[in-house]
Symmetry: C2
Subunit: 146 residues, 2 copies
């Protein structure tokens, strides 16, 4: 189906971006990028490893690949304030967005849109370069408050 073809495209594109960044194409990285381009959520390192249990990647390998992917801007690191890093595929269009995190069950949703250019330019006026920001919402979701 169309959907299936899109996924293949996404993966091929990711692999291309990866090689353009000087990273070698290995089986491990193929499997990792396949997962990340197909499933959306931000995942912890452990979640990623568990989802790939058939391929039995070492945890350390997942860590190192995520670091490499992050440096290559293939992946975005999300910090939800619980001391566990999460990663999310980030194609060529940056597609900047934020998340809502339930402080009880840690379920997450994506939030489209984000209008805070004022603060951003304030920061630049303060003399900072390479400015980026992270905005996360925390709350108790429907499932947990009932």
């Amino acid at each position: 189906m169309n959907d299936h073809i899109h996924r293949e495209r996404g993966l091929e594109q990711a692999l291309l971006l990866m090689q353009k960044a000087g990273l070698k194409r290995t089986k491990n990285r193929e499997v990792l990028l396949e997962l990340l381009t197909c499933e959306h959520g931000p995942f912890t390192i452990e979640e990623i490893q568990k989802k790939l249990k058939r391929d039995a990647l070492d945890l350390v390998t997942v860590y190192r690949c995520m670091q490499a992917f992050e440096k290559a801007s293939l992946v975005r690191r999300c910090d939800f304030g619980d001391g566990i890093a999460r990663f999310e595929y980030q194609g060529d269009e940056a597609h900047h967005h934020h998340h809502v995190i339930c402080i009880e069950c840690r379920r997450t949703e994506s939030l489209e849109g984000c209008e805070l250019p004022k603060l951003e330019s304030k920061v630049k006026r303060l003399g900072y370069s390479s400015v980026r920001h992270s905005l996360e919402f925390f709350g108790v979701c429907k499932h947990c408050s009932s």
Copy 2:
């Protein structure tokens, strides 16, 4: 001087709030609150302990007090994405604000103002309760970019 008197006031008020929250007034907590009401920045646990070296608080004690203070809303926990918790005094007026963090030297500045009520209400419409958000800016500061 006036400034000095203000500080005393701040500390007395903090101690009052602390006791109102059911926490006992101990020498350790006095010293901690004195530091937190006088100096502004968000501090890591280790920074706090080092600044109080004369009083030689155990690291664990600092951890536990900060937890207690956070629960009592005396202190705000800041997560700057480097896996190290930071704490900042937060008087009775919540005085909501954000920070700019230099991604090289970790120096921080406070940012007044914050207009993102739209996203906040979007989150509430999604069914979340007790919604809070954290917004942090990251960049390379003047000192580091030269």
